[in-house]
């Protein structure tokens, strides 16, 4: 704190602290806290109270009937009193019905149904598979870019990687949707070749297969895997490769013993980013499957918020997802021995 004021003076130092505090509180920590708080309470289901109210009104109607048929004034007054009492009860319950009391607990987490839990686990597995596939696909590319001879080629390759990335994420998914759709490019070509019969809906339903989502997801997040690896591989001293080769190591061995160990921080960062993005991706599964393929967890979260209108359950789902992503990050950081500063470029 003191060093801040020394460096920037009182007024400016205070202003910087104020802005940063506002950022941390209003944009990061308190919203996160609000979401966690929301996930920890629920309002009791309205069904039972509504039933009670209905019953009370039924009783009241019966009493009303009895009262109107009763000629004895004293008995009639008795009915009236009962009606008034039931009415008071019903009013109290109605107040509860419109504003049920909050109950705190972990039930939103434990209440996750079997199917939703299955989708949760499946999403994690899918995200791990996407990450592993992306790693395998991107490693040779990162190697080629990082060790490209000549600055010109490196620039061209880098731009070739950046151009698709600069185009909207959604449009990149859309491009794949066009290719894999029922009347898409691949089915169209197969139709030409006479392999499928488009007129009789004999197309191949690529979009209903989870691998369609994989394909588009790797396509969408490929750069988050390539760039961290390029960054670390660029610092590799090429003489090491040469030395290994002179000493008779095979290409495979060189990769395994020299290049991959050097690229470890980059691999960790790439995996962290890709896993986080794919586990939390709403755009790719929502657009690629259009409800016809298997759901991803993010779609369930969306539906809790905007279709079931159950923000408490939705928050609990979101928190579960956040916990998994955080755990993955921590595990990767520990396994690969990287710090937070390495992750953020």
């Amino acid at each position: 704190m003191a060093s801040l004021f020394r460096a920037y003076g009182r007024g400016l130092g205070a202003l910087l602290i104020a802005i940063a505090t506002l950022w941390i509180l209003a944009l990061i920590l308190v919203p996160l806290g609000a979401m966690i708080e929301q996930s920890l309470w629920w309002k009791d289901s309205k069904g039972e109270i509504t039933l009670q109210i209905d019953r009370l009104y039924n009783d009241m109607a019966t009493l009303q009937l009895d009262a109107s048929g009763e000629s004895d004034a004293a008995k009639k007054a008795g009915f009236e009193a009962q009606i008034a009492q039931k009415q008071a009860e019903a009013t109290a319950l109605e107040a509860q019905e419109t504003n049920p009391p909050k109950t705190y607990g972990l039930a939103n987490f434990t209440r996750m149904s079997g199917l939703h839990f299955y989708i949760f686990i499946r999403t994690i597995i899918y995200a791990l598979m996407v990450t592993a596939l992306a790693l395998v696909v991107c490693y040779p590319m990162a190697y080629a870019v990082a060790l490209a001879s000549g600055p010109r080629k490196a620039i061209v390759l880098t731009v070739a990687l950046i151009v698709p990335y600069a185009i909207n994420e959604l449009l990149r998914v859309y491009a794949w949707l066009m290719i894999l759709d029922y009347r898409g490019v691949i089915n169209g070509i197969l139709g030409w070749l006479g392999l499928v019969d488009l007129d009789n809906r004999g197309w191949i339903p690529f979009l209903e297969n989870p691998s369609a989502v994989f394909l588009a997801m790797i396509y969408t997040y490929v750069l988050f895997m390539v760039f961290p690896m390029v960054n670390t591989l660029e610092t590799l001293d090429r003489n090491q490769i040469e030395a290994a080769r002179d000493l008779g190591a095979s290409s495979f061995r060189i990769h395994r013993r020299v290049i991959i160990p050097h690229a470890k921080p980059g691999i960790a960062v790439g995996c962290i980013m890709t896993f986080m993005l794919s586990a939390g991706s709403y755009s790719v599964p929502a657009i690629m499957t259009r409800g016809q393929g298997g759901d991803w967890f993010s779609q369930l979260v969306y539906r809790q918020f905007f279709e079931s209108n159950n923000w408490n359950m939705g928050s609990a789902y979101a928190v579960s997802l956040l916990v998994v992503c955080t755990a993955f990050i921590l595990i990767m950081m520990r396994l690969f021995g990287v710090g937070l500063r390495d992750i953020a470029k």
Binding site: S3, L4, A7, R10, L12, L16, I17, I19, A20, W23, L27, I28, L29, V30, P31, A34, M35, M141, Y143, A144, L147, A148, P151, I155, V156, L157, A160, L161, I162, V163, P164, A166, L170, L171, R172, Y174, A175, W176, M178, I179, D181, R183, V185, G188, W192, Y219, I241, E242, M273, M276, S283, R290, S298, Y302, W311, L322, I329, L340, A344, K345
Partner: protein, 266 residues
């Protein structure tokens, strides 16, 4: 294309691989672009009904997409206005903090980058509802800024690492006020980075979907509008939007390559 150390066979395989990889990257975009010019009301390249520009005209008359574009630009400008000062403040503070307190603060400030986008959208939505602000453009700005400010901060931090602090100290010794030093030395030094950060923030905000879709409420940006249309089927108008993006990106990338190779030549 690869190191001179590789054997010819390995080099060939690697080059083929690079070729395939680039095909994987560019073919979908080419297909999408081509279909925008097809006179067929389902976006297709296999069913070619002749060249047309009718979908460009249709886009120009599409009120909701145009409004979405305006909203997207408005949100992006809002994000720049929030995240550049926040990122700058965070970076300036972090460069002067000690190792320990610095690490804690750093973890908090970069955490949004490592948080799934939908969670940033959800938490902002819940937070602002407490103040009676429903989902909409404002909440979208706030939700996006939470992580875009982190990106801006990382850019500023990288720049500040290369700063020569003696300059500021000398100015202070010579009696300049802190304000004057900041205005005349620190800010000019950071100005190019501020520009880069603003461009990055604009692009990030403009293309953002996962965070925005939760925070946007009843309003819409270009991207959320496109997404909600895709539920009902594909339309060549969307391809036209794609073509425009591809063209703008290609122009920008070519300019960048030309500029950087000219810089190299000098």
């Amino acid at each position: 294309m690869s190191t001179a150390n590789d054997s010819a066979g390995a080099r060939l395989i690697l080059n083929i691989y690079i070729g395939l990889f680039c095909l994987y990257l560019f073919l979908p975009l080419a297909v999408m672009s081509a279909a925008a010019f097809n006179s067929y009301d389902y976006p297709s390249v296999t069913q070619w009904r002749g060249f047309t520009l009718q979908w460009f005209v249709a886009l120009a008359h599409d009120g909701r997409l145009i409004q979405g574009l305006i909203n997207s630009v408005a949100v992006a400008l809002g994000v720049i206005a929030v995240s550049i000062p926040a990122g700058l403040a965070g970076a300036l503070i972090l460069t002067r903090l000690g190792q320990r307190s610095g690490t804690v603060l750093y973890s908090v400030l970069v955490s949004p980058v490592l948080t799934p986008g939908i969670i940033l959208g959800i938490s902002s939505l819940i937070f602002w509802r407490e103040f009676g602000v429903p989902g909409g453009l404002f909440v979208a700005v706030m939700a996006q800024s939470s992580f875009i400010a982190s990106y801006a901060m990382l850019l500023f931090l990288a720049r500040l690492q290369r700063q020569d602090r003696t300059l500021e100290e000398a100015a202070l010794d010579l009696g300049a006020s802190h304000m004057l030093v900041f205005r005349r030395i620190t800010l000019p030094f950071l100005a190019p980075t501020a520009f880069t950060a603003a461009v990055v923030a604009f692009l990030q905000s403009f293309e953002n979907y996962n965070t925005t879709v939760f925070a946007i409420g009843g309003e819409w940006t270009l991207v959320t509008e496109i997404a909600s249309r895709l539920r009902f089927g594909l339309s060549p108008v969307i391809n036209v939007v794609g073509v425009i993006f591809v063209a703008l990106t290609l122009v920008a990338a070519t300019t960048y390559v030309l500029l950087s190779s000219r810089k190299k030549a000098r």
